[in-house]
C-alpha cells in the first residue's frame, strides 16, 4: 500500500473525511477504492495507438481488408508538406465537394489524437440481404 493511499484511509478512519471524499481522493491516485469495475472486466486493457484498420464484410461476398494505420499517419503528416499553391487547390476542391476541412490546420498532435481515438471506433452495418460490414481498429 502506498503512503498516500494509507494516509487517505487513515483520514477516513479518523473521521476527517467522508467515504465519498476518500473515494474521490483514491480515484485521483489512480487506484479505485472498490477495485476494477465489472464493466471493464471483460475488456483487456490495451494501451498505445492502434496498428491496423480492419474492414470485414461477410455475406454473399467476403471482403477482408487490413490496412496499417501508419499509412494514414504518414499520409496526414505529408499534408503539412504539400506546397501552399497545391494545398490551396486541394482545399478549394474539397470545399466544392462539401468538405470544409482545412488541411493547413492539421497538426502532428491532432493526427496522433485522431489515430489514438480510432481504437474506440467501431462501425457495424447489418443489411437486409444478410451482408454484415464491420470496421474497426486494433
Amino acid at each position: 500500500m502506498s503512503e498516500d493511499r494509507k494516509r487517505i484511509l487513515d483520514m477516513l478512519a479518523e473521521g476527517k473525511i467522508t467515504a465519498a471524499e476518500a473515494d474521490t481522493l483514491l480515484g485521483a491516485l489512480g487506484a479505485p477504492a472498490d477495485g476494477p469495475s465489472p464493466s471493464s472486466g471483460t475488456k483487456t486493457a490495451v494501451t498505445g495507438p492502434p496498428k491496423f484498420l480492419y474492414v470485414k464484410v461477410t455475406g454473399e461476398d467476403t471482403v477482408d481488408v487490413k490496412v496499417p494505420l501508419g499509412l494514414l499517419r504518414a499520409g496526414l503528416k505529408l499534408t503539412s508538406l504539400i506546397p501552399p499553391q497545391a494545398m490551396d487547390q486541394i482545399n478549394e476542391s474539397m470545399s466544392e465537394s462539401g468538405m470544409t476541412l482545412d488541411l493547413n490546420n492539421l497538426k502532428a498532435e491532432d493526427i496522433e489524437g485522431i489515430i489514438e481515438n480510432l481504437r474506440e471506433m467501431e462501425v457495424n452495418v447489418n443489411s437486409k440481404n444478410g451482408d454484415k460490414v464491420r470496421v474497426w481498429c486494433d
Binding site: D61, V65, P68
Partner: protein, 96 residues
C-alpha cells in the same frame, strides 16, 4: 519508424472457370534501383531546398516531401486485402 520499402508482394487472382494465378513479386530485388533513384532525387531536392532557403523562397520542403513519400511507401507493409465473390472470384493481395 519503418523506412524500408515493401520486400514482397503476393497477389492471387482466381476466376470461377480457371485455375487463376499467383504472383510472388520479390520487390527487394528492385531496392538497388530504388536506392539509385531516391539517392538522385534526394540530392536534387536538397540542392533545391538549399537554394530556396538562400533566395528566401516561401516553400523549401521538397526534401521532407520526398522523405514523406518514402514513408508512405514503407508504411504499406502489412497491408492485406482478400475479396471472395459469391461467384467464386478471388483476389488476394498481401504486402510484406
Amino acid at each position: 519508424m519503418a523506412m524500408l520499402p515493401p520486400t514482397v508482394v503476393n497477389v492471387r487472382i482466381r476466376e470461377p472457370d480457371s485455375r487463376g494465378f499467383r504472383i510472388w513479386l520479390p520487390l527487394f530485388l528492385l531496392w538497388p534501383l530504388l536506392l539509385l533513384i531516391i539517392g538522385s532525387a534526394l540530392t536534387v531536392s536538397i540542392v533545391v531546398d538549399f537554394v530556396g532557403i538562400i533566395v528566401g523562397a516561401r516553400y523549401h520542403d521538397y526534401t521532407r516531401l520526398l522523405l514523406g513519400c518514402m514513408q508512405i511507401l514503407a508504411e504499406t507493409r502489412g497491408t492485406h486485402a482478400h475479396v471472395h465473390g459469391h461467384d467464386d472470384n478471388l483476389v488476394d493481395i498481401d504486402i510484406y
